[in-house]
Symmetry: C2
Subunit: 361 residues, 2 copies
DNA sequence: CCTCATCCTGTGAACGCTCACACGACCGTC
DNA sequence: GACGGTCGTGTGAGCGTTCACAGGATGAGG
C-alpha cells in the first residue's frame, strides 16, 4: 500500500516521516535532516519553513532509523541491585537526571540476586539494547566480581565499588567517613568504640569497618570484635540485644553502626533494656536517611551526597564514551552530622539539656 | 573500506552482522534471521550450523535495525516521581522485573518536580525513544493532571492514581486499607481516631483520609480535623507535638498516621513528651516499610504488595499494546499487620502485663 | 509418471535516517 | 571576465534487519 501524502493536518494511519516533512516544506529530506541536527548551513527562511512543517505534521524523528544510520543509540544501561535502600535508589535517580541532561536515555535493569548468572543476563539484556555505556550500582563484592568475569565491550562505570574500582568508578570515601564517626566518639571521651558492621559481601560495609579499625588503632585503643548485621533494622535490633548487657555493665559506651536502619533497630533493643542514648551509650549511624533526624533520639550520622555521585558517574561515563580523558577527582567525603544520639560517656561531666528521652516503659 | 570477512574467530573493527554469520554458516541471511526468530521451518542441521556460527562470531542482533524493520522497539517508558519513598521505588523495581521477564526494555525518567512542563518533557523524551507503552508512577494529583493534558499516542498505565484512573491503571485500595486501620482501632475500644494525613496533592493521602472518615462515620463516631503532614518523619514529629497535649489530657487515644515515616516522627514527639504507645496512645501507620517492625514500639501498619502492583502494571500494559482485552482485576488490598503500637485505650482493661496497668480479669 | 501440497531456502525490496558527494548560486579578488 | 571559495541545497548509497515472494526439493496420492 502506498503512503497517503496529503498536505495539511490529517489523521493518518502511519506516523509521518522525514520525506513527508520535506514534501510539505518543499525541500529535500536532507535539508530536513539538517534542520533537525542544527546544521549551520541552512537558510533561516528554509529552516523556518521546515520547522513549521514539522510542527504541522507532528513529526518525530525515528530513533531506530537514526541509531541505525549513526551507529549510536544515545542510551546508557544502568544495573542496580534491587533494594529499596536509601543509597542505591537515590543514586539511581541522580544518575537518571544527569544522563537525561546529557542527552542520553537510561535503560534500567535491577538485580534481585547478584550472582554471575544474573549479572551476565543483565549485561546481555543491556548490550542487546545497544547501550553505549554501562553504570553498575554495585555495592556488593559479588557484583563487582561478577562484572570482572564478563567481557563487556562498552565503557563501564562502577558506583560504590570502593577500592576495587578506584580507577574505573565513582567512590565515596567510606573509610574516611567511618574514621570521622569513630574519632567523633573518641573525642567525646569514650574509651573505645564498638562496631556493628554491614553484611559481609558489601564493600561499603568493609570500608566502614576498616575505617573504624584504623581510627581506633591510630588512637591506640582497643579493637573489639565486630557484630555483623545485614543493613536491616532487624539485624540492628539483634545487635542491640547482644550489646544491652555490656552497655548496662558499662563495658560499652559508644557504638558506631554501619547504617541508619540498623541504628534504629539497635536503639530499639537498647530502649527495651531500659538503656537510652546518649545517656547510657552514644550511637552513630551512616547515610543520613531522611528519618534519621527523628530517631529516638535524633541520630548522629554521616551524610553522603548521592546527587554528586550520580553526576560524576555520568560525567565519567560520557567522557569515556567520547574518548575524552576522564578528569580524576578526589573521592566524595561523607559529612558528619552531629545530633542527639552522641555525648560524653556516663562518667564524664555532661553539658546538660539533652532530651535523650527513652520512650516506652 | 570494505569489510574484512575472514572465517574463524578474528578481532575485527566492527561488530559482526547477520551477513557474516550467513557466510560462515554457508546459508542466506534470511535463514539466519529465521533461526534467530525461532521460525519452525528450518532444518535442524541448518539451525545448528547457524547457531555455531553465531556463537563463534559472538554475533549479536542489532536492535536498531530490528526495530526499524519491525516497527517495534520492545521498550516501555517509566515515569517515576523522584523520591526515595519506599512505595514508588519498590514499585519501580517490580515493574522493571516484570517488563524484562516479558521481553521489554525499560526506559526510565524520573521527575524531580511534577508539573505539566516537566511531565511534558518526560513524555517527549520517552516518545522520542520510541517507547511502545508508558507506565506512570504518579501518586500525585498534579502528575495525573499533567498527564491528562498531554496527547499520548501509546498505551498508558498509571500506578497509584487511585480513583482517577480506576479504568486505566493499577490501584491499591487505599480506602479499604484506611478503613481497616480505623476499624482496628475502634475495635480495640477507642472512642474515635485522629488522622495525620499525607500531603495535599497525593492521591493516596486523600484516599486514606476518606477511608478513615468513612469508617468513623459508619461507626457513628466523631470525625475531628485532620493534621496534614508531608510523608516525612519531620512532619510526623510536628503532628506529634501538636497531639501531645490532647493525648496527655486523654482527649486522643488513637492515631492513624498516613505512612510509617510520619508515624516514626510522631512517636518521637510523643516520647519526648513522656508519652508512649500503646500505653498512652495507639498508633497505626501505612506501608510496612522494612523498619516498621523496629520502631519504638513495633508499628501496627498496612502492608502493600508492590511486587503485585508491578506485575499487574506490565500485564495490563502489554495487553493494551498487543490489543488484547485487559482482564479487569479487583484492586489490591493492603494487609493489616498488628504489632505493638496499638492496644486498648488507657481506661480499658488491658490483657498484657504492661506498665502499672490494672490487670485484666 | 504426473500433480499437488509441504517443507526448506534464497532473493530483493523495504524500513527511515545520515553520510559523502555533487552541484549551482553568489561573493570577492585578481 | 575568469577564478577560487563559501554557502545552501539535492542526490544516491548505505546502516542491518525483516517481510513478501519465489523457487527447488521431497513426499503422498491419483
Amino acid at each position: 500500500m502506498t503512503q497517503v501524502t496529503t498536505h495539511g493536518p490529517h489523521e493518518r494511519a502511519t506516523a509521518p516521516v522525514m520525506a513527508d516533512v520535506a514534501r510539505l516544506a518543499g525541500v529535500s529530506h536532507q535539508t530536513v535532516s539538517r534542520v533537525l541536527n542544527l546544521h549551520p548551513n541552512v537558510a533561516p527562511q528554509t529552516r523556518e519553513r521546515v520547522e513549521i512543517a514539522i510542527a504541522q505534521l507532528g513529526y518525530r524523528r525515528n530513533t531506530a532509523a537514526r541509531a541505525l544510520a549513526t551507529r549510536s543509540t544515545c542510551t546508557l544501561g544502568v544495573i542496580s541491585v534491587e533494594t529499596s535502600q536509601y543509597g542505591p535508589s537515590s543514586t539511581l535517580f541522580a544518575i537518571e537526571g544527569a544522563a537525561r541532561a546529557g542527552g542520553y536515555f537510561i535503560n534500567l535493569v535491577s538485580l534481585r540476586q547478584v550472582d554471575r548468572r544474573h549479572m551476565r543476563e543483565a549485561v546481555d539484556h543491556l548490550m542487546g539494547a545497544g547501550v553505549e555505556g554501562l553504570v553498575a550500582i554495585s555495592p556488593l563484592r559479588s557484583a563487582v566480581e561478577a562484572l570482572r568475569g564478563l567481557s563487556i565491550d562498552v565503557p563501564l562505570v562502577e558506583v560504590e565499588a570502593t577500592d576495587l574500582a578506584a580507577e574505573t568508578g565513582v567512590v565515596v570515601d567510606q573509610h574516611a567517613g567511618a574514621r570521622a564517626a569513630t574519632r567523633h566518639l573518641l573525642a567525646l571521651g569514650h574509651q573505645t568504640v564498638v562496631h556493628v558492621a554491614g553484611p559481609d559481601g558489601w564493600l561499603e560495609a568493609q570500608a566502614r569497618m576498616r575505617g573504624w579499625q584504623s581510627a581506633l588503632l591510630d588512637a591506640g585503643r582497643e579493637v573489639r570484635d565486630v557484630l555483623a548485621g545485614d543493613w536491616t533494622a532487624r539485624s540492628g535490633y539483634a545487635a542491640g540485644r547482644e550489646l544491652a548487657g555490656p552497655v548496662a555493665r558499662g563495658e560499652v559506651s559508644a557504638i558506631f553502626v554501619a547504617n541508619d536502619q540498623m541504628a534504629l533497630g539497635l536503639l530499639r533493643a537498647l530502649a527495651e533494656a531500659g538503656l537510652g542514648a546518649p545517656d547510657d551509650v552514644s550511637v552513630v549511624g551512616f547515610d543520613d536517611i531522611p528519618e534519621a533526624a527523628f530517631y529516638p533520639p535524633p541520630l548522629t550520622t554521616l551524610r553522603q551526597d548521592f546527587g554528586e555521585v550520580g553526576r560524576r558517574c555520568i560525567e565519567l561515563l560520557m567522557a569515556r564514551i567520547e574518548g575524552r580523558p576522564a578528569v580524576a577527582r578526589p573521592a566524595i567525603r561523607p559529612q558528619l552530622l552531629v545530633r542527639a544520639s552522641t555525648g560524653p560517656p556516663a562518667g564524664a561531666p555532661r553539658p546538660g539539656g539533652a532530651s535523650g528521652a527513652t520512650p516506652g516503659p
